[in-house]
Amino acid sequence: MSDLAEQMIPADKDPLEVAVAPVRKKRKAKFGFLFWFFVAWIGLTILASIAAPWIGLQNPNNGNFSSLNQGPSTAHWFGTDDLGRDILSRVVYGSRVSLIVGFGAMFIAMLIGGTLGMVAAYRRGAVDTFVSAASYVMLAFPALVAVIAIVAFWGHELWKITIIVGIASIPLVYRVVRAATLSYATREFVTAAKAQGASDTRILIKELLPNVLPAMISFFLIGVATVIILEGALAFLGLSVQAPTASWGNMIAESRTYLQQNPWLALFPSMAMFLFLIALNLVGDVLRQALDVQDAKL
């Protein structure tokens, strides 16, 4: 990221995120129907992915060679794929990959990048200079290319991909959290806590974290969406979890050979991914708007 980006864009926002953010409305953000609908959708997706083995789905990897490439029916709600596997079951099981990578990687990034960001913004000095410089260098490296190269040689296991993508997301999280913390680190309540003799750790956890947390949560959701897209791109290039394990990305990738005979194969995983991504984006966005209103009231 460059100076011009900082110049243009308020320091506490990720430039790309600002570029895509809608114009902030002055009126109070409402938690309307759509918001709750998509919150429920995220909940439902998470629940289904956890409960997948117990909700009467067929085995996602067992083929049935007497019913190949069939459209939706009562036996197979979403139809079957080129090996006669149940698409509904594969979409539900496939969500596990996206969810583990998405939430896992952002969790790693938040834990490391968030901690570094808060400490750097609170302590300033050499630590801040060094970590900030490092984050610039990492951001300069195109993430997908780096991730492709590392995954290609280190391995395609789910946990490895999660760690790699998590580490690749650290600098962005660091910048967001650092900027958010900066705006609080010099406030009166921090000075007051210091005057009362509170330790640095206590100030960071008790005073600063609660203020930064809302911004982190909304960024977390949008970050999960970005990571899921990244995993999907990896899967599409054949670099994510390997067959027969289903993931939304590799289902979409596999479907390309059968587009003519069986378009359902492409449509259902695309639909699942689209709905989940739009839910994450919308909930994250509404939360951020609600947050800004609170901020303005202070």
Partner: protein, 315 residues
Amino acid sequence: MAKFLFKRALALIGILLLVSMGTFYLVHLLPGNPTVTILGPNDTPHNRAVLMAQMGLNKPLWQQYLIWLGNVLRGNLGQSFITHQSVTSVLGNAIPIDFELILISQIIAIGVSIPLALASARRPNGLLDRVSTTSSFAMLALPPFIIIVLGVLIFSIHFHVFPGPGSYVPFSQNPWSNLHTMLLPSLVLAIGSVVVYFRLLRGDLISTLQEEYITMARSKGLSDRYIMWRHALRPSSLSLLAAAGLNIGGLVAGAFVVQYLLALPGLGYALVNSINQVDYVVVQGITLFVAVVVVVLNFIIDFLFTIVDPRIARE
């Protein structure tokens, strides 16, 4: 200004050095041995030792890096273990395709997003504005690999408007059918950019339109169209430029995916192929090239900014 530029150029060199180290160590520190790939069943200890010595792989890593960097600076990115093609010629064959894809997609994206943003910002919350804002938000949740699959499904398979995968023809051979093939992938890439540019520009324009000089221009009786293009769009073109610069990394990535599906022999296609063949040198070369392009482009955009707005250099 000169001092500022000098400082920036130093920083650029520093970042480029770090990027080159990153690329080098990335590929070298990871498990797997290129000799296994080259020798295959002949990977006996003796053969391996000879080959390692020939390739300089038994030297300390920092020496290998310096030798590699020296070669890179002289324009020699090495030679593929598998195809024995030089990496520069792999790049030379692939780059024009990425360039063409990105160029066409950006022409489409700018051509669509500017008029759309102008029309939307003119009447915020009007019908057009609401439709385009909502649909652009939805588009954010459509990654390029979904759009390209749907695009092929609808336009190639159902309506036969565009040729399907694997029908790439070089521009020099048949410009018309080359453009015809490139249009679908470029459109797919353009959609992502349109969303980013539209949302940015619309927001910018709406706040610009509340400025006093716009009211002034209106009271002078200037036409709406003139005010929009001349007074409102101009200051926003800067943010558009910045967004375009930041977007380039995403475009390259999107181009990878699109090339892979349509079998367009560009950088992404070459990268995935060489990864599947464990062709270290080519992976290294492509990674380095893309990283350097992104870093240098960001630098150039920074530079353009200081020309447009000299205040940046003074700070």
